[in-house]
């Protein structure tokens, strides 16, 4: 059992004990241990590491830096203004008990295609702070997910924080599951209208081997908005349909116990269209977060 109290200590132990499994909230790892699917040689417990369970504004207030140990509950309570889609995604994760323990960093480390944070992080062009005794590097979220439950993290690295640009315009997150709470996403979608740049960000969950970005949809919407970011009311309804269709096209889902590939594509087209219409409505009403 390894229990560092400082971040430096955590990195040292991480490099010394490559067989140790990092654990913070435990909401993924403990399930695997309880079900006999994982028997790590030892645990590297990060819950006593100082200064990783909070957030700060960096980058002249343009970016929220979320510490690796910050729970979903605190994201909901403290960041619903700065990161509204992330807060909405956090609210759909498990139960209060899970949200009290689970973290975005843990979600990233597991790198499940169904992780609820991931579509939002994609839509917001987040960056992951990966650190080891060798140094700190920033991994663009687009480079982070490399395969099913596989990430770009090196074996000696730990996620120290996640950098999420603060919302400058409307954001949406929507998640489909057959239960009204406590459900793993059959499919999920995040949309971010960044009015500062301006640009369009998207993210898709549970519809491919990794979380996905709907690039063609982003481009199409960006082209359609063009010089109309201030007058979104003039955006044609067809744009919404086209956007939804392109979101669905970006997915490469499979059939599994949670839903069919066909259903997932269909639902993504609906979520894409609806999220866009809500975002445009918010944009028109000037409901710009933060």
């Amino acid at each position: 059992m390894l229990r560092p109290s400082s971040w430096r200590g955590a990195m040292l132990l991480r490099s010394q004990y490559p067989d140790a499994s990092p654990i913070c909230g435990g909401t993924d790892l403990m399930v695997d241990i309880n079900f006999g699917r994982a028997r790590p040689a030892t645990l590297l417990d990060l819950t006593s590491v100082e200064d990783i369970d909070s957030w700060e504004l960096i980058d002249d207030g343009r970016t929220v830096r979320i510490g690796a140990g910050m729970s979903y509950t605190r994201i909901i309570d403290e960041l619903s203004g700065l990161c509204p889609a992330l807060a909405q995604a956090a609210r759909t994760i498990g139960s209060p008990q899970i949200r009290n323990r689970g973290t975005v960093a843990g979600n990233l480390a597991t790198a499940s295609p169904a992780g609820d944070s991931h579509p939002v992080l994609l839509a917001c062009w987040a960056q992951v702070e990966a650190e080891s005794v060798r140094g700190l590097r920033l991994i663009d979220i687009d480079d982070f997910f490399v395969g099913p439950k596989r990430s770009a993290l090196e074996p000696d690295e730990l996620i120290r924080a996640v950098r999420v640009p603060a919302a400058t315009g409307p954001q949406q997150f929507a998640k489909v599951g057959p239960r009204n709470a406590m459900v793993i996403a059959t499919v999920s979608f995040a949309l971010n209208l960044d009015t500062a740049t301006p640009r369009v960000g998207t993210g898709i969950g549970s519809a491919g081997p990794t979380p996905l970005r709907a690039r063609a949809a982003e481009q199409m919407l960006q082209d359609s908005l063009d010089d109309r970011w201030d007058a979104p009311g003039s955006v044609d309804e067809d744009v919404g349909r086209q956007f939804g269709a392109l979101v669905a096209e970006a997915a490469s889902p499979i059939d599994d116990v949670r839903g069919s590939a066909e259903y997932r594509r269909h639902a993504l087209a609906v979520l894409g269209r609806r999220c866009l219409s809500w975002a445009l409505q918010d944009l028109g009403e000037g409901e710009v977060a933060a």
Binding site: N34, F35, G36, Q88, R91, T92, Q172, F173, A174, K175, V176, G177, P178, R179, N180, A181, M182, V183, I184, T186, G240, R241, G244, A245, A248, V257, R258, G259, S260, E262, Y263, R265, H266, A267, A269, V270, L271, R273, R274, W278
Partner: protein, 778 residues
């Protein structure tokens, strides 16, 4: 008939928390403070842990089993296989066909092959992984339609467990007279009981070669018989004690840890605990049979049912469990709670290499109620008649004849039940533009602000027999003892009827208070030292236990009064017992019970029997098979997002006749719980099985309703006293589980206009609109 709102018989009306009161549970305090002992909490100094090795294959030949490596691990005390089963190698509730530990062949995924006892569960699990089983995989037979031929190699009976035939009237002649005929196929997936308390127990070896087993189960004595047979021990060397049961719903009628834990305890000479994990639990108990029903209904233009023809196939999986009885019960009520003169029902229970299915709340009638109630809505649509009106026109009543030829006796207030649902105002619509997202389909998923939402309303009516049917007459014995403590009479009730959560222990105490007027009632642990009580199943335990406890109380009361009569020199017939006093007819106290009894206890046992039933004949399925009938109906209101296929059940209104609400809060709780299990089966619960393999054995992917999935449940409880039962009560537990599912399906059909031939409905089944939001032209 009128609604009876008052108790029918109260011996001592002054009694507190007697029959008819919403008395709190005698096990309530330990259950809320955490001190209640469930079977998974049983503990004994020096106990070992038992763990089961299960087959990964749905069908395979066992060529060899090598346990040597596992036995070599530090901390492992023994590893047992089929060779170590001392007595019968097989067990079963009806037929001994399920191996205690597999030999020659495994017939379903998860079948137990070996058991290990070790000092720590993790050591036992690792030892299991080191047992080498040489399997020759065989192609599993998983299609029940193939099994119907009765000629499938490798399955019992060639695949056919039972064919039930019911023939009543002349369907051919009726069809010629029908103005409208509708046909349809209705399928249902596999539901899991998903009780929260896992299978578990503690076996303690006794010095005399016997064993004591603390276990959660539904029938102590039937379990005792099977355990003793397989251990090769006489019954008196196998003592079962009911431990705390964390829910059962039929899934704990078959044995689980019982024999394994006892074998390990007897072999090691040490107490052995076994507790299934959730994943193992999904393989460790029977499920509700998946069903395929074909139904043809014929009616006159004005909606009078002329005939009902049903073909029902229930897949029982690898072993028999209770399949032959489940299919019979499914068939008995396959024509629904309707008066129809011409009926043809063919029911088939099959064997396959799918997971074994058996008892689950509703016992075959859930499947057939879902099918017939779906068919009734189809008929209503064809007749262009309101579905409730069609049901009211054909509802069965007292004196009408069932398809089995048995006249309906006892109250059958179906009209009253349906009228309540008809007259209850519908819930208000929701303004989804402003409503809380938690009130919309998709809940916290934030998927709609009103887009695509359609409302639907659906009705369903259900009927089921209460108690064991078909000549399976059973008994229930209770012993009641009264003695004086601190000058006050205290009653002890002793009865083996398992408490699963349904509250039979509450009734035992209530009845003793009512019959004896005592304030203090103590309940003795339930075990096999007393005669049997039968299973807590078939909604029978309240009825049977009430009969036994009330009977024993009566004998005790008579003896106390007889002693009082002797002491007072007055005829016993003039005396009444009211708790601590014996009184005269005017109510004046004559002598304290304490004085009459002194230090002596008065104790009597009573064995209750319900009226006899008879089996139905094989050719036409006719016979007076049932003790009693119970009825319930639901009206479901749903909001469906027809673009995403997500559902919010808005309200589940229900009405049920319970004969006598022995404990009104308990009755409500049974109705609410049964309704929600039916809701789960309608919209989310299915054990997904492909090629004999379970794909979702976890609470992550086998979803049961959360609190946010459950709507308000307005209800009306009718109390038409049953003439044959103690206090006029009727069984309560199963009827609400019948009509809930089809009411929701019918509401979803109403909302979407889709046929929805299968339950549970998946989101992809409910989509009526293309994803681009442009609805098809109407």
């Amino acid at each position: 008939m009128t609604v009876i709102e008052t108790p029918t018989r109260i011996t001592t009306p002054s009694v507190v928390d007697g029959v008819g009161a919403s008395a709190t549970r005698p096990d309530g305090v330990p259950k809320v403070d955490g001190s209640f002992i469930y079977s998974s909490d049983e503990y004994h100094d020096g106990s070992l842990w038992g763990v089961t090795l299960r087959s990964p294959h749905p069908r395979a030949r066992i060529l060899a089993i090598d346990t040597s490596q596992a036995e070599g691990i530090d901390g492992v005390r023994c590893v047992l296989t089929h060779r170590d089963v001392p007595g019968s190698k097989t067990y079963g509730m009806k037929v001994y066909d399920e191996p205690v530990l597999a030999f020659d062949e495994v017939r379903y995924q998860g079948e137990p092959v070996a058991v290990v006892a070790a000092s720590h569960p993790e050591i036992a699990r690792r030892a299991c992984e080191l047992i080498v089983v040489d399997y020759e995989e065989l192609v599993p037979n998983t299609d029940p339609e193939m099994s119907l031929t009765g000629r499938v190699d490798g399955l019992f009976g060639g695949g056919l467990a039972r064919h039930v035939r019911i023939r009543h009237g002349d369907v051919g002649a009726a069809r010629a007279l029908a103005d409208v005929v509708v046909e349809g196929r209705y399928e249902m997936g596999t539901q899991d009981p998903a009780f929260l308390g896992p299978e578990s127990g503690l076996a303690v070896p006794l010095g005399d070669g016997g064993v004591e087993l603390y276990v959660s189960c539904q029938n102590l004595h039937l379990d005792q018989q099977q355990v003793a047979d397989c251990l090769g021990l006489p019954l008196d060397k196998v003592r079962l004690v009911l431990s705390g049961v964390g829910g059962a719903f039929g899934g704990k009628e078959d044995l689980n840890v019982h024999i394994h834990a006892c074998m390990l305890a007897l072999r090691t000479g040490r107490p052995v605990r076994m507790v299934y994990s959730r994943e193992e639990s999904f393989f460790g108990h029977v499920h509700r049979h998946p069903a395929i029903a074909d139904i043809e209904l014929g009616a006159t233009r004005d909606g009078r049912l002329l005939f009902t023809k049903v073909r029902l196939v229930l897949d029982g999986g690898a072993y028999t469990s209770t399949s032959q009885v489940v299919i019979a019960n499914g068939c008995y009520f396959a024509a629904g709670a309707y008066d129809v003169a011409n009926v043809e029902i063919d029911g088939f229970a099959t064997y396959t290499n799918n997971p074994p299915c058996g008892a689950m709340r509703g016992f075959g009638a859930v499947q057939s109620c879902y099918a017939i109630e779906s068919a009734m809505d189809r008929l209503a649509a064809a007749l262009e008649m309101h579905p409730l009106e069609l049901r009211m026109r054909n509802a069965i009543g007292e004196g009408d004849m069932l398809p089995t030829g048995q006249p309906v006796d006892g109250p059958a207030p179906v009209q009253e039940i349906l009228a309540y649902l008809r007259d209850l105002p519908l819930p208000a619509g929701v303004d989804h533009g402003t409503a809380d997202m938690r009130a919309r389909p998709g809940g916290v998923g934030n998927v709609t602000r009103g887009e695509g939402i359609r409302r639907g309303v659906g009705y369903a009516l259900g009927m089921k027999a209460i108690g064991f049917s078909g000549g399976m007459d059973d008994t229930c014995t209770a012993r009641v003892t009264v003695w004086i403590r601190d000058g006050e009479p205290v009653a002890e009730v002793y009865c083996a009827g398992p408490e699963l959560g349904q509250g039979v222990v509450t009734l035992e105490a209530q009845i003793a208070r009512t019959e004896l007027g005592v304030r203090t009632v103590e309940l003795r642990d339930k075990d096999t030292d007393i005669a049997e009580s039968g299973a807590s199943s078939a909604s029978r335990q309240s009825w049977m236990t009430a009969g036994a406890v009330a009977g024993a109380c009566g004998l005790v009361r008579d003896e106390i009064l007889a002693r009082g009569a002797r002491a007072l020199g007055r005829p016993a017939g003039e005396l009444t017992l009211d708790g601590p006093e014996i009184r005269d007819p005017a109510g004046h106290p004559l002598v304290p019970v304490a004085e009459v009894l002194g230090p002596e206890a008065v104790s009597h046992a009573f064995t209750y029997r319900h009226r006899p039933t008879e089996p139905v004949d094989d050719e036409r399925g006719q016979g007076n098979a049932h003790v009693a009938f119970a009825y319930a109906a639901h009206r479901a209101v749903v909001d469906v997002d027809v673009e995403l296929g997500l559902v919010k059940v808005v309200e589940m209104a229900t009405a049920q006749d319970v004969g006598k609400a022995m404990n009104p809060a308990g009755v409500e709780g049974q109705i609410e719980g049964g309704t929600v299990q039916g809701l789960g089966l309608a919209v989310m619960e299915e054990l997904q099985i492909t090629d004999g393999r379970v794909r979702n054995p976890s609470f992550t992917d086998y979803l049961i309703p959360t609190m946010l999935d459950v709507p308000p449940m307005p209800m009306k409880i009718f109390e038409f006293p049953h003439p044959d039962s103690p206090y006029g009560l009727n069984g309560v537990g199963e009827p609400p589980n019948l009509s809930s599912t089809p009411a929701i399906l019918n509401a979803l059909r109403d909302a979407t206009g889709l046929e929805l031939p299968r339950a549970p409905v998946r989101p992809s089944d409910l989509i009526t609109e293309p994803p681009d939001g442009r609805a098809e032209p109407e």
